[in-house]
């Protein structure tokens, strides 16, 4: 990467011309909005416990998304507000803290209990084994194989494929960037899908991939000062669209894109998890072209619904494009012009014509 020769400090440079493939022929908006998974059931008798990952509500990311699912269940399924409890993990806590949190929920009669984040896997396995009568769900993990545990996992690579394709369609320099927070397998899925999507549109596109911190150093999700610098490095190197999967550091990526945007050189960013055009404060949100949606809210809502209906078996193996478990956002209207092509890719993925890799190549 960075083969573009000596670039000017902050200015964008016109890169090579992109050769773009046509969108798959399937087209036609097929299966764009699938039918709801199940009809709304009555959840008024349920006591739902939520165990969030570090930060809990207010992270503008997947904890908030999970909370949104809970709120939807309250409004749509008759779940009683006082029959819910939300707890959150602390930084650097040990396994037993996670287990204790789940046990507290069990002890106080919550059922089902939803653990948000793969860090709960081990603790959940222990607690679920001890309490076979309680229903559990875990977000982002499918390693706990117990009858009373429902995995809520997502095809992040599929959503990322679409925003990758969008980036490749939109880029003017034929060079785009990806900023990962921490170099972990989960984030690799985002990267892999994004790169695959971009290459599917423009085989000669250049994708800069950078991570803020290596595996095990979770500061990369929490250091927007460094996030800015990584993004600026990519922008200065010629990229004009940057996709971030960096948690709270993502704010830094948006700020970097916002700063680099000049009247004559529009730079764009792609958000992650929730529709960040709506959550990031203006005017910075104006640079957000689209967001890769990871609909934890959909999964949580569907799960509560399924428990209420006594049909957890009906939930999908993975929340992917076909059930709207992942997708892309359109707020801000910056991808309206390419919506057709994106929908074509989406349909092709759902049909299985395109296989999106989930590990980086």
């Amino acid at each position: 990467r960075d083969t573009g020769g000596q670039q000017q400090g902050g200015g964008g440079a016109a890169g090579t011309e992109c050769t773009r493939n046509p969108a798959p022929a399937a087209a036609g908006g097929a299966a764009a909005t699938p039918a709801p998974i199940a009809p709304n059931a009555d959840a008024s008798a349920l006591k739902v416990g939520m165990a969030y990952d570090i930060g809990g509500r207010g992270d503008l990311s997947f904890n908030d998304s999970a909370a949104a699912g809970l709120e939807k269940a309250i409004s749509d399924l008759g779940l009683v507000q006082t029959n819910t409890r939300e707890l959150a993990a602390a930084e650097n806590e040990s396994e037993d803290a996670a287990a204790t949190r789940l046990r507290q929920l069990v002890a106080d009669g919550f059922n089902p209990i939803i653990a948000v984040g793969f860090k709960y896997a081990t603790a959940l396995k222990a607690v679920a084994t001890e309490n076979p009568q309680v229903q559990f769900a875990i977000v982002d993990d499918s390693t706990v194989e117990l009858p009373n545990v429902t995995p809520l996992v997502f095809a992040e690579e599929q959503g990322s494929f679409l925003v990758g394709a969008a980036a490749a369609l939109k880029t003017k320099s034929c060079q785009i960037g990806f900023v990962g927070g921490v170099d972990t397998p989960l984030i690799h899925k985002f990267e892999a899908g994004y790169v695959a999507g971009a290459k599917a549109v423009a085989p000669n596109i250049e994708v800069d991939v950078d991570y803020i911190s290596p595996a095990g150093d979770f500061s990369g999700f929490n250091d927007s000062a460094r996030g800015t610098e990584v993004a600026r490095g990519q922008l200065d190197g010629g990229a004009d669209i940057v996709y971030q999967a960096a948690g709270a550091s993502g704010q830094g990526v948006f700020e970097a894109v916002n700063t680099a945007t000049k009247p004559d050189a529009q730079k764009l960013a792609i958000g992650v998890d929730s529709d960040q055009y709506n959550t990031v404060a203006p005017p910075v949100n104006e640079v957000i072209m689209t967001s890769m949606l990871k609909r934890v809210d959909v999964a949580v809502f569907n799960y509560i619904n399924a428990v209420a209906a006594g049909a957890t078996g009906s939930l999908p193996k993975a929340f992917d494009l076909s059930v709207d478990g992942v997708g892309y956002s359109t707020s801000g209207g910056k991808v309206d012009d390419i919506a057709d092509q994106l929908d074509a890719y989406k349909a092709a993925i759902i049909k299985g014509d395109i296989k999106v890799p989930s590990e980086r190549q």
């Binding site: 806590e93 396994e95 507290q104 290596p214």
Partner: protein, 362 residues
């Protein structure tokens, strides 16, 4: 009597002071300090909390011992954090790769942990002894670098394997586990807890009964007097930091050998820093550190219980921070007071014994 005053009074004062501070903070927040107190007390009987306090306490205890070894000679091993994390990672890799008979397997893992901890501590030790680099700065840098090395080791190109969205080292075979004592629904006490207690005993023995412990304390109290007494300062720096590092290398093992059996991305961090606080609370005394470790573990678990009833758990952090600060201040005040009292007492006793006033006029 004076001993009780000097040893027990400061921490009690400090805890009371910290509790008052927290009560004020809670009241500002509109929460009832009494509820908080009740929750903190009753949590101990619930679920596995009691066992967890003991298990976590054992981890903090080992970390505290590691820091305390350095403190004995006024060396500040802030690098326990990096040493323990790297040691746990390498020990897990070694344990997963080896297959040995039960007991031996565990022993080898423990030795690997200690060796790696000592190795990581040897950099600050040698830099301190031969280049005069302050151990605090070098070990802080080593903590950062340890994170990089761990990331390298457990990446999938290294020794890591993908497990769901997590990366983990190869799990250690049951032959390498450290069996614990199960209390059924109340949890399982790590077998390592007893090893930790034994380490505490060994530390106490080493400190008070052996030449090495004597030299360590002497160097800490007065490097000049120790040098005149034949203690090689450079050697002591190296040995003390290596020992501290070796002890630090064991910090991650209770969980590794007793519960997790593999090192993962989400393996905990921060025990090294807790160890500093615990060693300070316990005044580097083997029993004191144990009490400090249990108190710290208790407060940690209280955060969970408070969160569960909607009381802000940050209160626990304030409590921990203010306890440490006020306990050192309290010890200092009592120490000064006692020193003056001691001198007065000796003078008075001498007067009584010799019949001659210690204050001689013309």
């Amino acid at each position: 009597m004076t001993r009780i005053r000097t040893v027990l009074l400061p921490p009690v004062l400090a805890i009371v002071f910290a509790a008052l501070l927290c009560a004020v903070a809670l009241l500002i927040n509109g929460d009832s300090p009494l509820t908080a107190l009740r929750v903190m007390v009753t949590q101990v009987g619930e679920g596995t909390t009691a066992v967890d306090i003991i298990n976590t306490g054992a981890i903090y205890y080992v970390a505290g011992l590691a820091v305390a070894i350095g403190f004995q000679m006024k060396l500040f091993n802030i690098g326990v954090e990096g040493q323990f994390r790297l040691a746990a990672c390498v020990a897990a890799i070694a344990g997963g790769a080896l297959s040995l008979p039960p007991g031996l397997h565990t022993l080898v893992i423990i030795l690997v942990g200690a060796a790696v901890g000592a190795l990581w501590a040897s950099v600050p030790a040698l830099l301190k002894a031969y280049r005069g680099v302050h151990e605090v700065i070098s070990s802080i840098m080593m903590n950062f670098i340890a994170t990089g090395v761990i990331a390298y080791l457990i990446s999938t190109e290294g020794f890591g394997v993908l497990r769901g969205n997590n990366i983990s080292t190869d799990p250690i075979e049951p032959t390498g586990h450290f069996p614990g004592i199960s209390f059924g629904a109340s949890g399982t006490i790590f077998g390592f807890v007893f090893l930790a207690a034994a380490l505490g005993l060994a530390y106490g023995f080493m400190l008070n009964r052996t030449r090495f412990g004597f030299e360590l304390k002497a160097s800490g109290e007065s490097p000049t007097a120790a040098a005149a007494g034949g203690v090689d300062a450079r050697r002591m720096v190296i040995v003390a930091l290596l020992l501290s590092g070796a002890m630090a290398g064991l910090v991650g093992l209770p969980e590794l050998l007793g519960r997790d059996h593999a090192y993962t991305l989400t393996s905990p961090a921060g025990y090294g820093f807790t160890g500093i606080a615990v060693a300070l609370l316990g005044r580097n005394h083997p029993v004191g550190i144990a009490l400090g470790a249990l108190l710290w573990a208790f407060l940690d678990k209280s955060a969970l219980a408070l969160d569960n009833v909607g009381v802000p758990r940050e209160i626990v952090l304030i409590m921990q921070g203010s306890i440490v600060l006020s306990v050192v201040i309290a010890y200092e005040i009592v120490r000064r007071y006692e020193l003056a009292a001691e001198q007065r007492r000796v003078a008075a006793q001498l007067r009584a014994v010799t019949g001659v006033p210690a204050e001689v006029g013309s």
